[in-house]
Symmetry: C2
Subunit: 286 residues, 2 copies
């Protein structure tokens, strides 16, 4: 009888070991799942606080929304004439993830690397022309400095533009540098280019705060900050920026490159030798 | 003693039930993992046939490559002047997944919906002008009909362009319709637009096979198929297509829309009232 009990005890011990192994396997699989999809799980968690639909349905919805978001973003970034007022609500999670999850910065870095490759091939030769007149144009809002903190509170552009709140935000002078464009800015200046910052912000009301904001964020050493003065009030962005670029060229500058987050920065006249569109899926200035 | 054995038997039975439950849980978790990432698992499987690095490293590599692929694709689709000869090898898996996993078609559908929304707002009013001269221009290769079968064998554009093999492929007349653009084509014709198919293919050698290929794939009822004749031999795509569009306008047509997969389809003169870039991450015609 003692023998039988001993056998049973051993069988039990063996089963406990098996149970332990299975438990470990479960934990490992869960771990892998989380490693594969930390953002998805986080989104599912966020969503589960909002509704009570099953996890499987959420997965399907998330996949559909992700596809939709990818298509929407490609369409607006590629087709400069697909007008849009706000981000479709269905793209909220996608754009949020894009702007804050690292892909936006990754995209910027690739474009800036491309710009710097191009810039490195330009011969700034003092013997053939005036070295002091090789110019670059950079847009300001969401090119040099970022309005993501404002857009975060506006569901990354799903909510309509809120002029009073945006003005309040701008007037704080707290727009953080876009670190990837700051890298471009500093490299261009180091290479000897004259960098013009060209913005649609109104000179009358925003000149000082914009200058201070840029300075505090490290944008130091540019040639000129050009804001919209009363002469250009109410003009379309394309017309206004084209006029300014023409004036710059008439002063004798050669515009080698032109970088902006809006198609309206890169359309019209006197565009420069090459234009570079950086992404912005949060708003569209027409 | 019998009681003790019965207790042990019940404990054993309970443990077996627990084991069964745990086993089920393991299977369910594995199932979820597969449902979340069928393509990733397939890629991992494909890769594991090539090398023996651990699954965890593969995950990290896949994530990095996915980020890189997304950035690269956005850069080339958005920045019309980022020249490229072949797809970076690092983007192979990304582009393959993009072209064959449904996202390419999803992207196309969104752009075609946008085109048709625009087209629906155009008043084809016979009283104000000649209704018969409202034109659209569609590119042929990788717009109307697809060369994906050729590019599949060329690692989706990672391998350099193989002119003899491509010619052989084209001469089969087996390019499948791009079903999303076929939908656009049919709707435009139904609405009364005169559709011009404009291709860089040489008229001398490829006229018949192209016409037959288009016909067999359902592209029936277009106004004119324009191939490159000897007059335009060797000219850049932008120059050649601009000249043809000018000729079309000089015949009295109004070009309402212009759709192509290459930026060179959508640059130059007489572009039409609106241009629409559809994606093509496999090759770039400069």
């Amino acid at each position: 009888m003692m023998l039988k009990i001993k056998i049973v005890q051993r069988v039990l011990a063996g089963l406990m070991v098996l149970l332990g192994l299975l438990g470990n396997l479960v934990l490992r699989l869960q771990g892998q799942k989380q490693r594969l999809h930390p953002q998805k799980l986080q989104m599912m968690k966020m969503r589960s606080e909002l509704d009570s639909s099953s996890e499987i349905d959420d997965d399907d919805d998330d996949n559909d929304d992700e596809r939709y978001g990818l298509s929407w973003r490609l369409a607006v970034e590629t087709n400069n004439n697909v007008g849009w007022k706000t981000v479709p609500l269905r793209c909220y999670k996608h754009v949020e993830k894009y702007m804050t999850g690292g892909q936006y910065e990754h995209d910027l870095n690739m474009i800036v690397d491309e710009i710097l490759l191009y810039a490195s091939k330009i011969q700034l030769d003092a013997t053939t022309h005036n070295h002091d007149q090789d110019a670059w144009i950079l847009d300001v809002d969401d090119t040099c400095i970022s309005n993501i903190p404002y857009y975060k509170d506006k569901r990354f552009g799903c909510d309509p533009f809120d002029s009073p709140v945006f003005k309040e935000w701008i007037n704080k002078g707290m727009c953080p540098a876009n670190p990837v464009i700051l890298r471009l800015f500093k490299t261009l200046i180091k290479k000897g280019f004259k960098v013009f910052l060209l913005t649609g912000r109104y000179e009358e009301t925003l000149a000082k705060i914009t200058m201070d904001n840029l300075h505090s964020q490290g944008f130091i050493g540019y040639q000129r900050l050009i804001l919209r003065n009363l002469k250009y009030k109410g003009q379309s962005a394309v017309k206004y920026k084209s006029s300014i670029r023409r004036e710059i060229e008439e002063e004798g500058y050669r515009i080698w490159g032109n970088v902006g987050d809006q198609w309206t920065d890169l359309q019209g006249d006197c565009l420069g030798n090459r234009t570079f569109k950086i992404p912005n899926p949060m708003y569209c200035i027409s």
